[in-house]
């Protein structure tokens, strides 16, 4: 009984934990890689994009944090759709400063400046830090503005990676760091998939067992000798 309770509790917790990040990821599933417009103001995290694109959109109401921008500069503030200049609201851990990332993963193998033009025509400068590996590819995918739906599916490796980490540079550009592998997502996914597989296995096993018995749930003609016209036992 205790074992069943533990199994059930684990499954329920795993499902809950799986749903929560999925809900968060659903915002990037809306079409914009980084969650869309920033219209909410400084304190807001990202919200679902209305246009389906990461770049461009409603940046007119957005004012950059004065302390982070060089005086007098007109650095674009749209950047990634959901990338606040001072705080990272992407999934995964926040990165207040690049040292948070480089302290953990080392110096990037390559750093290059890239400019992406949004739908509204404004371009944003990004400082792309490359570390190689799968995360690089995912980072570029996010920066392209939209990601395919299957990136949010458990069978795709991108599902197990965080969003890219960003950081607003003083010159107005945005430093981008590759997504990192999320062990928690993997473990929870394994728990959920394993739980579903266990349920299916149990169901199939019981179904097979029921096939051997009669519909009344009692022993089937285990005493019957089917090779003969009459059974040698009246009991079932």
């Amino acid at each position: 009984m205790m074992k069943r309770f533990l199994v059930l509790s684990t499954l329920v917790l795993a499902l809950l934990a799986w749903v929560i990040p999925t809900d968060a990821l659903a915002q990037r599933r809306g079409g914009g890689s980084f969650g869309g417009s920033r219209g909410g103001g400084y304190g807001r995290s990202f919200r679902s994009p209305s246009s389906g694109r990461s770049f461009g959109g409603s940046r007119t109401r957005q004012a950059p944090p004065p302390s982070r921008n060089a005086p007098g500069s007109n650095a674009p503030t749209g950047r990634f759709g959901n990338a606040p200049t001072s705080r990272n609201a992407f999934g995964g851990s926040r990165m207040n400063r690049p040292a948070d990332y480089t302290g953990r993963y080392g110096a990037p193998r390559a750093t290059e400046r890239q400019s992406f033009r949004g739908q509204s025509g404004t371009s944003t400068n990004y400082v792309v830090n490359r570390y190689g590996g799968m995360g690089d590819g995912f980072m570029m995918g996010y920066m392209m503005g939209s990601i395919p739906w299957y990136w949010s599916m458990p069978f795709h490796p991108a599902f197990y990676f965080s969003r890219p980490y960003t950081h607003a540079n003083p010159d107005g550009s945005v430093g981008v760091y590759p997504p990192t592998f999320q062990w928690g997502t993997l473990i929870i996914t394994l728990l959920v998939v394993g739980g579903i597989a266990f349920i299916l296995f149990t169901w199939l096993r019981n179904r097979r067992r029921r096939m051997a018995y009669t519909t009344s749930g009692t022993m089937a003609a285990s005493y019957d000798d089917d090779e003969r016209p009459g059974a040698q036992s009246s009991f079932m």
């Binding site: 149990t202 022993m219 009459g230 036992s233 009246s234 009991f235 079932m236």
Partner: protein, 160 residues
């Protein structure tokens, strides 16, 4: 008058129940307890052709939807088996007991209890929440007759 016969060798796998000459199928349990003190219980539990489980009095009730099958034993096999026959209309006075077609006399008590075991329903999802729905039952096979000897002593014999 209904006639019930039980033919077998003492094992459930080779025990046939005949009701008025027809071999029954899907029988779950037979319970007969007849004594000269007035006890008269004769019950049969079976699964009918509609899948429902029935419990009937063997000699007074109509056996609804009872399932039958062709005789399973050949005449040669039958020679190595024991046959117990109860011929009755549900009253002690009219009950006739035969063993291998020989009428029995001086019977004090007849006790027959043959039951097929139930099967565990498995540890399905439902059992996680509601626990096991049925209580497992073991097979039962008891059949004995108590006679009163000429000297007044009682002797109990197994039928099979």
């Amino acid at each position: 008058m209904p006639e019930l016969s039980i033919e077998g060798n003492g094992r459930l796998e080779r025990t046939a129940i005949y009701y008025n000459g027809q071999q029954l199928d899907k029988v779950r349990e037979i319970f007969i307890h007849i004594s000269e003190d007035g006890d008269f219980d004769a019950l049969i539990m079976y699964v009918g052709s509609d899948g429902q489980q029935y419990t009937k009095n063997l000699f007074t009730d109509y056996l609804d939807s009872v399932q039958t099958e062709p005789p399973g034993f050949t005449s040669e096999e039958a020679t190595s088996l024991q046959m117990l026959t109860v011929d009755s209309d549900g009253t002690l006075e009219s009950t006739l007991l035969l063993r291998n077609n020989e009428e029995q006399e001086g019977v004090v008590r007849l006790y027959v209890h043959i039951k097929a075991p139930s099967v565990e329903e498995g540890n399905g999802l439902r059992s996680w929440f509601g626990g096991s729905k049925n209580i497992p039952e073991r097979a039962e096979f008891a059949a004995e007759i108590t006679y009163r000897e000429i000297d007044g002593s009682l002797t109990t014999e197994g039928v099979f």
